[in-house]
């Protein structure tokens, strides 16, 4: 084996917190990045993967401290010891980096072309004219449509996917030997994600550079990486060839990560969670759970012709209309889950918010137990409000930071007259907290003292206090780590079984939706494109858009066609 491009040895990183105590983010890891290979760095939040990637170019904040024996060797030199002048030559020139949020990572006041040209003029010593030409050719290579026009545009005039292409162009401009990609596709739609992944894979092959790809999604990694490094809480759990990781994982945590993702091919009764693997006993997958609407199902919600238009001011006196939801009709069966799937801008969230009357629908009817809830007066609707509840996406934003958990859980009861007094309500709150898996002392704590998954449990408990019939889950698990997501999905399933709740499950994540839904409806730009039982729709999609959507899902392992040849070749 030839010498590695970058060799990370005994890396230890601690952050000095405001109270003076050091927090060890990385506890001594070592791995090599070989030449001309893609290495995936995989982990959940808090694993230290981002910190590792930023450590290479020393882009960490000033309160970061390296261990004394830590070394990061690049072409024989230790990057951690290099003087600033030499380090600057490496940055952008030999090792380049792209980040997760392209919108904020690009300077908003300079054109896209200027920013690419800047690095060319700095490292390659090009003049303005030559740099501009090269910038255009780089943008072409990165698949940006109409590069001669777009080169003079500002970042905010481009879409998320286009911005990321610009960042990639800027990064590869000076022919770096290593490209570090820190979760570059996490913020993008799944169809765009597929394009960007393909771009990175193609560039890696064409230029013979190494790529260090940081992600939390193993399936993404499976598409095109050669090796994977799995990290957890600042340590490396496993590091091997991609085939070995998927086919014969050694470490329990790796096994757990692979298994607890909802899979398109199987639907176990319960999703695997980390604990299932960490005990040491081998994991047995529970039996398959069939799903779908059946004939005798009672229909609890019948939506007909739902329409929502947003107006904004334009020109001197004009108004501009934007149709978020156009003529959507569907039925929700009692005790079942209807999944609504779509990318950003599809209108799926608006459907949920409109049914709850958090937005006022422009047109349409929604029959709940025979009555049209959309045409009721706000006063009439009050009685129904508690029967349809919603769990929002962002666990960090949906709980009032100034309320204790007890306040959060007792408030709805107080507003709807549930429970005979404050004492009774507290008791009910404690019961619910227990039911959703929170510890007994959770009631007196504040939201910021809990993790993302725990906060979602609190949000779910809040909904349950009112004993709703319908629960709308608006991207409720999308912001959670894979392992936590599995726990929350299992909880939702248990609650549905116990209380015969009906769910409207909104998400962009097709695998999750398939796992939990009986029927699935696909939305695209406000229009309901296709609707069928979940097994049917995934096996046999009718509409073109559904097909495109399904084709974009990262399959993980085994590989899908676009990468079958090159990546598997041995070094």
């Amino acid at each position: 084996m030839s010498e590695p491009l970058v060799s990370i040895q005994n890396l230890r990183v601690a952050f000095r917190m405001e109270d003076g105590e050091p927090f060890e983010a990385i506890k001594g890891i070592s791995f090599d990045i070989p030449k001309n290979r893609t290495v995936a760095l995989v982990g959940e939040s808090g694993s230290g993967k981002s910190v590792t990637s930023m450590a290479i170019l020393r882009l960490l904040p000033s309160n970061a401290e390296f261990g004394a024996e830590s070394k990061i060797l690049f072409e024989g030199k230790d990057l951690l010891q290099e003087d600033p002048h030499a380090l600057r030559k490496v940055r952008g020139g030999n090792i380049a980096m792209i980040f997760q949020e392209p919108m904020t990572s690009l300077n908003p006041v300079f054109t896209v072309g200027d920013q690419i040209m800047e690095t060319l003029m700095l490292h390659m010593g090009m003049g303005r004219r030559a740099a501009r030409q090269k910038a255009i050719s780089l943008l072409t290579e990165c698949g940006l449509p109409e590069p001669e026009r777009r080169v003079d545009r500002y970042p905010h005039e481009l879409s998320g996917g286009q911005q990321q292409r610009v960042m990639i162009a800027m990064a590869i401009a000076c022919e770096p030997k290593l490209l570090i990609a820190d979760e570059p596709t996490t913020a993008l739609d799944v169809t765009i994600q597929k394009q960007i992944l393909k771009l990175v894979a193609d560039l890696q092959k064409a230029r013979g550079m190494s790529v260090l790809f940081i992600t939390h999604d193993l399936d993404v990694v499976g598409e095109f990486a050669h090796e994977a490094v799995v990290m957890r809480e600042g340590e490396i759990r496993e590091h091997s060839e991609i085939r070995k990781i998927f086919e014969s994982p050694q470490d329990n945590y790796t096994k757990a990560l692979i298994k607890c993702r909802p899979h398109l091919g199987r639907r176990p009764q319960r999703l695997a969670v980390i604990d299932d693997f960490m005990q040491g006993t081998p994991y047995k997958e529970p039996p398959h759970r069939p799903r779908g609407y059946s004939h005798g199902d009672e229909i609890i919600l019948d939506v007909q012709g739902l329409h929502k238009t947003f107006f904004s001011r334009e020109g001197l006196f004009g108004k501009r209309a934007f149709d978020a939801v156009k003529d959507v009709s569907f039925k929700l069966a009692k005790g079942k889950t209807l999944g609504i799937v779509g990318e950003s801008g599809s209108g799926k969230t608006t459907v949920g918010l409109t049914l709850m009357r958090l937005h006022e629908a422009t047109a349409g009817k929604a029959f709940f137990n025979g009555k049209d809830i959309l045409s009721m007066t706000p006063k009439e609707f009050k009685a129904y409000k508690r029967r349809i509840q919603i769990v929002f996406q962002n666990p960090y934003a949906s709980l009032n930071p100034r309320f204790t958990v007890q306040d959060i859980l007792t408030e709805p009861m107080m507003l709807h007259g549930i429970g005979s007094g404050a004492q009774e309500r507290r008791r009910l709150a404690a019961d619910l907290a227990d039911r959703v898996g929170l510890s007994s002392n959770a009631l007196s704590k504040y939201p910021h003292e809990f993790s993302g998954g725990q906060r979602q449990r609190i949000a779910i408990a809040r909904c349950l206090t009112m004993k709703p019939d319908i629960l709308i889950c608006d991207e409720s698990v999308s912001a959670l780590d894979v392992s936590v997501q599995a726990q929350v999905l299992n909880l939702l399933q248990d609650l549905q079984d116990e209380f015969r709740l009906s769910y409207l499950f909104i998400s962009h994540d097709l695998s999750v939706v398939k796992h939990i839904s009986d029927q699935v409806m696909v939305m695209h730009e406000g229009v309901l494109v296709e609707q069928a039982d979940s097994d049917v729709i995934y096996a046999n999609p009718q509409h073109d858009y559904t097909r495109e959507l399904l084709a974009s899902i990262p399959r993980g392992w085994p590989r899908d066609s676009f990468n079958a040849e090159g990546a598997l070749a041995e070094a």
Binding site: D19, L358, Q389, N394, N400, P412, S444
Partner: protein
Amino acid sequence: MANEKGSRSLWALGWKRLRKDHIGFVSLWMVAAFVLLALAGALGLVASGWRNEVAKPYAPPTLLKSLGPKHVQLTAENIDAANKASEQANGQPSTGTSLTADEDPLAGDLAEASKNEGQYQEAATQKAETLPMGADLRGRDVLQKVLKGTSTSMLVGLMGSLAAIVLGTIMGGFGGYFGQKIDDLLMWFYSVFTSVPDMLLLLAFSAVLRRGISTVILVMALTSWTGTFRLMRAEFLKHKSREYVKAADAIGASHLRRMFVHILPNVSYLLLVQFSILTVALIKYEVILSFLGFGVSVTQISWGSMLAEAPAELIQGYWWQMACVTLFMSILVTAFSMLTDSLRDALDPKVK
């Protein structure tokens, strides 16, 4: 809201952070001391006798008396001698008024008075030669004046600030939360009041209202609510679309409940910071207003009215009144400013 021992509300965390910030913590205590002083002054417990003329005019400060201009003590003999000298120089008798006893309408009364003089005794109050911080033109104790002045200035600052914040919050809250017509109306108010620079507006109000502390407080409240309005309007607008407010809507909370039970506690830390900034600004404005003669009335005393005496004093070389006021004001405002900065750092959830 329930807050059992062991749990850490955001306020408790903020307090902890403030305590660790040594400068901020010290500033907090200094400001608290000034507030107590102000209260004591307002209740008459401190410096209530500031009007008493207890010292000789322009008595110098006790410890620094060598740094003042030299005083010449004039006695009756000096005056007589001076009169005689000018008599001789000008060859004219100077009897004060140069009127004969017949022409002088007061001659009779004066004769009466000098006859009765012997019967009365005047309690000879010993006028002090020096005072801790010196005396002003009328022999009043500068230290007493400055303490009472602290009370006035602080009172004006705190109350004016409080009124401005309450007004601004209510208006900003309703405007930001409800939007549309209500917001349009409130924004109209805002644009009217902000199209005139603060000082000008203050002067315009002062021109039509009588001088006095309550006027100053009223005027300050009416001109400074705009900053809080803009801040609260933006915050309520931002928070309204946050998920925890949507969740409150979903569980059935009314508009008022959402505004004041849900949103307000999340923005109150900003109000605290704003309160401190505004208090400092208003104290400074009051000083200028009173200096120009438009602030507190002549019977009241504040830092500004003390500074009004400064230019005349400086010319004659009496520096202590200005120095004293500057010292007190400087300490308070610096402490307050430090406190504001520390409060901002301690309470800002982003830092968390």
